[in-house]
């Protein structure tokens, strides 16, 4: 029983340690595995003494083999509780398996457990035929031998339920074990298992927002020079002088990818420049939605520069969603038209080097920016300037020069500080715990792992 509960906790905990907890959608865009990165790190570092042991089974139930034809003995300790952290539609059942349930035994005395349910009460729909039907115990599930938990899903919050579990074997059915009191699923308003995640999210988002507000009130913020972004002017200038076009590629992902959004913000800057210089801007896209977004952006930029006449909608076109088809079309275009400037801003995969090497060969100035670590080396080798990871995200703030946007960068730094602090504390405590065996240090580590970075909620 204990083991089961524990292992359930551990699996939840692993889930949180894994990057899954970072899954956090923003504006329809999948956002970063932010916290998980931290947790992941600490998880890795402290791995050595992490309890693999908690997986160890303690099923050393040694009972004499019962006669083959006898029904198995019943389960014990049957409990039904509301499933935590959900919207209120599940109940968790747990029990101690029948003493006759032994996976090593041959023949096995228990083949499965039958779970039955009865609706005990319903506060608002007494006439519901389904409710009437469940006035007595009905079969709801069969759980395999050696299993001791079951989560009953799809329940109604207005009702309460009674459960019973029967061990079934070749020798027949065991006596029925029934829950004593009816339970009803309850709605949880807040996922306490993600409490710390919420705190960290609030801290980082709060810092970003706070600095944005501070910037609005006119605080000067320093930002280091990013040569790659300064070079955008130069690249567009080159295209102008050479009478060639500028090519802008906003990655091969759709607009729901935040990198594409970041790329489009750079595009608006590039478009302002091409409007100002009177150069031609070509934007082949790999997604239809990106095409429409890019058109809006570029048109607005041309309008803002006072050159709406120079805007050419047909220069922003869709090619294909297919990665290599797209790469082939773009490289072909590059070889034929020999653009003087190429910008790659967004999500890129294997096509990165194909594009960048081809454009390098035709002598284009290239500026790339991506947060795909695997593609960075290719861009660095073939492009004139490469915005690495966060530099790329800083681009729009940098290019706009608006203090409000620069404020967000400062907020990001607070995030980094937080990560660094967690790392230092975690690593320090873990090291100290190993060196000195101090229980306090171990407690800190455990708290960090299980609560702050895990799913243990706020309290240890």
């Amino acid at each position: 029983m204990q083991t089961r509960v524990l292992s359930e906790q551990v699996s939840v905990l692993r889930r949180e340690w894994g990057v899954g907890s970072g899954e956090w959608a923003v504006a329809g865009c999948r956002s970063a595995p932010l916290v998980s990165s931290t947790s992941h790190l600490i998880f890795q570092i402290s791995n050595s003494w992490r309890g693999v042991t908690i997986f160890a089974l303690v099923f050393v139930l040694t009972l004499g083999q019962a006669a083959a034809q006898e029904p198995p003995r019943p389960v014990s300790d049957l409990r039904a509780v509301d499933h935590p952290n959900d919207v209120g539609e599940s109940v968790d059942l747990s029990w101690t398996i029948s003493p006759d349930d032994d996976p090593e035994a041959d023949p096995q005395l228990v083949s499965e457990y039958r779970v039955e349910r009865m609706t005990a009460s319903d506060s608002d729909a007494v006439d519901d035929p389904e409710f009437l039907h469940e006035k007595e115990f009905v079969d709801i599930a069969k759980v395999g031998a050696d299993e001791a938990t079951f989560t009953d899903k799809g329940l109604k919050r207005t009702r309460t339920y009674l459960y019973r579990v029967i061990a079934v074997g070749p020798g027949g059915e065991s006596p029925v074990v029934e829950t004593e009191t009816a339970v009803g699923p309850a709605m949880d308003w807040f996922r306490t298992d993600r409490g710390w995640l919420a705190v960290i999210v609030l801290l980082i988002c709060g810092a970003v927002t706070a600095f944005i507000v501070a910037a609005k009130s006119g605080r000067e913020l320093y930002i280091r020079k990013i040569p790659g972004l300064e070079a955008v002017d130069e690249a567009v200038g080159r295209a102008t002088e050479m009478g060639r076009s500028c090519v802008f590629i906003s990655g091969i992902q759709d607009i729901n990818d935040i990198q594409t959004v970041a790329g489009i913000t750079v595009l608006s800057r590039v478009a302002s420049l091409t409007a100002e210089y009177g150069a031609r801007l070509e934007v082949p896209t790999a997604r239809s939605l990106v095409m429409t977004t890019a058109r809006e952006t570029v048109e607005a930029s041309y309008l803002a520069e006072g050159r709406p006449d120079a805007y050419r909608q047909d220069d922003i076109y869709y090619l294909t969603d297919e990665q290599f088809g797209y790469a082939a079309a773009v490289t072909g275009m590059i070889t034929r038209e020999k653009p003087a400037a190429c910008f790659y801003m967004g999500t890129f995969y294997a096509e990165s080097l194909l594009l960048a090497e081809t454009a390098n060969a035709v002598g284009a100035i290239q500026v790339a920016g991506t947060a795909e670590p695997a593609q960075l080396p290719f861009f660095v080798a073939a492009c004139d300037y490469t915005l690495i990871g966060e530099e790329f995200f800083a681009a729009s703030a940098y290019l706009s020069g608006e203090p409000v946007q620069l404020g967000s960068l400062r907020g990001q730094d607070v995030g980094k500080l937080l990560v660094a602090a967690l790392l230092v504390i975690g690593c320090g405590a873990a090291t100290w715990a190993t060196v000195s065996g101090s229980p306090q240090a171990s407690a800190i580590v455990t708290f960090l792992q299980d609560n702050v970075l895990g799913s243990g909620g706020f309290l240890p």
């Binding site: 040569p227 002017d233 050479m242 009478g243 284009a364 004139d384």
Partner: protein, 619 residues
Amino acid sequence: MTTLNPDQINVILATDCGSTTTKAILIEKIDGQYRQTHRGEAPTTVEQPVADVTAGVINAATEVGELAGRRLVNEQGQIIRPAKPASGGQPPEGCDIYISTSSAGGGLQMLVTGVVREMTAASAKRAALGAGAIVMDTIASNDRRKPHEQIQRIRELRPDMILMSGGTDGGTIEHVVEIAELIAPAKPQPRFGTGYRMPVIYAGNKEAAKFVAETFDDSVDLTVVENIRPVLERENLGPARDQIHDVFLEHVMAHAPGYDKLIDWTDAPIMPTPGAVGDILQQIAKARGINVVGVDIGGATTDVFSVFDGPEGEPVFNRTVSANLGMSYSISNVCAEAGMPSVLRWVHFDMDERELRNRVKNKMIRPTTIPQTLEALVFEQAVSREALRLAYIQHREFATTLKGVQQQRTVGDTFSQQKSGQSIVDNMKLDLLVASGGVLSHAPRMEQTASMLIDAFEPEGVTELAKDSIFMMPHLGVLASVHSRAALEVFEKDCLIYLGTCVAAKGRTKPGKQCFSYEISGSTLNERGEMSFGDVRLFPLGLGETARITVEPARGFDVGGGPGKRVEREVRGGTVGLILDARGRPLILPEDRAECRRTVKEWSESLRLYEGSGSPRRR
């Protein structure tokens, strides 16, 4: 014009027709070496009532002739050529060649155009400045002005000529023609002469030339030369520059009073004065294989010239004109741009700011006044430091590597992606710093000139300091085009007065900490010791003397061999001597006024700046 065998040239007369004075110098071959022997001066006579530049030339030449005891001008008012040695009691007469430069009438004023301001337009500007012109404005596709504003501007300006560039060969045609379409209807009027057509030099995309030609009507005189920027990776300024000089002679000069005569007289094409200065600096840099910076600070403007190794190792010449930085007409602007506190930080005693403002305005309305008190002198030199500093900053920003060039990256660049368009001006690589212009040439003590140069330019490593004795660089520039050996010899021996050498360490630390240790060995100077950060020291090392110096910089300091690396060099002495500068680079003065005053006082005492100068005197 006659072409002479350079070996037969023994006597050279050169004049520089400035806007107020015409200066003549005489160069003679003495014991097989060319030396500048005499100089003379006369007011320039371009304006009414004379309105003939040759009159001033003859006057100046006559003065030189009198001083030299050589008859240079005959009864008809013409320069006698060739030279004849003294014979039969007759004094020697004539010269072998006569050459001249001119900046009279405001020099050569140009309008340049290009496509992208930082690319072809910058190249065009470089070509024009290098040819010695004053660039009145630069029109580019991306200069953020609306077409009607650009046309208005072209109309307002009355340039001597227009240089058009834009597009690489095979590059944009559209943009170049667009600019031509702005110039054509604007019908710019030349400054001199009403009867002739505006000279336009086209040095852009060769494929656009015929379209440009179609755009213009008869009101302009279009000449097409090779593209100034055939590819973005390379500048080709020569043809455009030569064409500017030709047009300068044919059109601009031909229409200035008396110049038609002067052109006939000279044995080499007349050059714009700054162009000639640039030429001689380029010559010296090439001949000695060094990097040179020259500065000419005037009343209204400050010219900075530099020759530095470019990215490909070839010497690159740059000239900038800081139109609003000068010591008289522009002095107010210097104070405004630098800020009074910046000027005052160089002054080692208390000064009343109100009085200072009066002084500034006084200088502005009476440009020819010279300081009468030590206070006034110190203040004027403080202003000059700021003017020079600002001019040098502008120069650095302009003298860059070419923009718009594809970068070849290697994995080593992953973490430091250098931008293109970096300044090629590198003080550490600077070998020779040449000063000219009133406040520098005529400072009462040479130490002051040296100090002004060091404080304003902040040379790093080992740098020779020199000044142009009597501003003869222009003459030598033209001379170099016909007889470069003569020009270089005179330049070394008579033109430059070596002030000495400055050895400065780059880096900063806390005051009082060790900066570098040195060991000097020479025939007259043998010293060793340590320099603490913040110190500056002067050692006597006379003109023509040399010494060997070994400098061992402390960690983090660089004197040219790299941080902390030992440097051993031969240094040249001069009228000032050897200056060891441990004040750090960048040179930062204390914020606190009192502290700053004390520091500057220490420095000026170390350098013996105002020793014994109870009252300034002219040299």
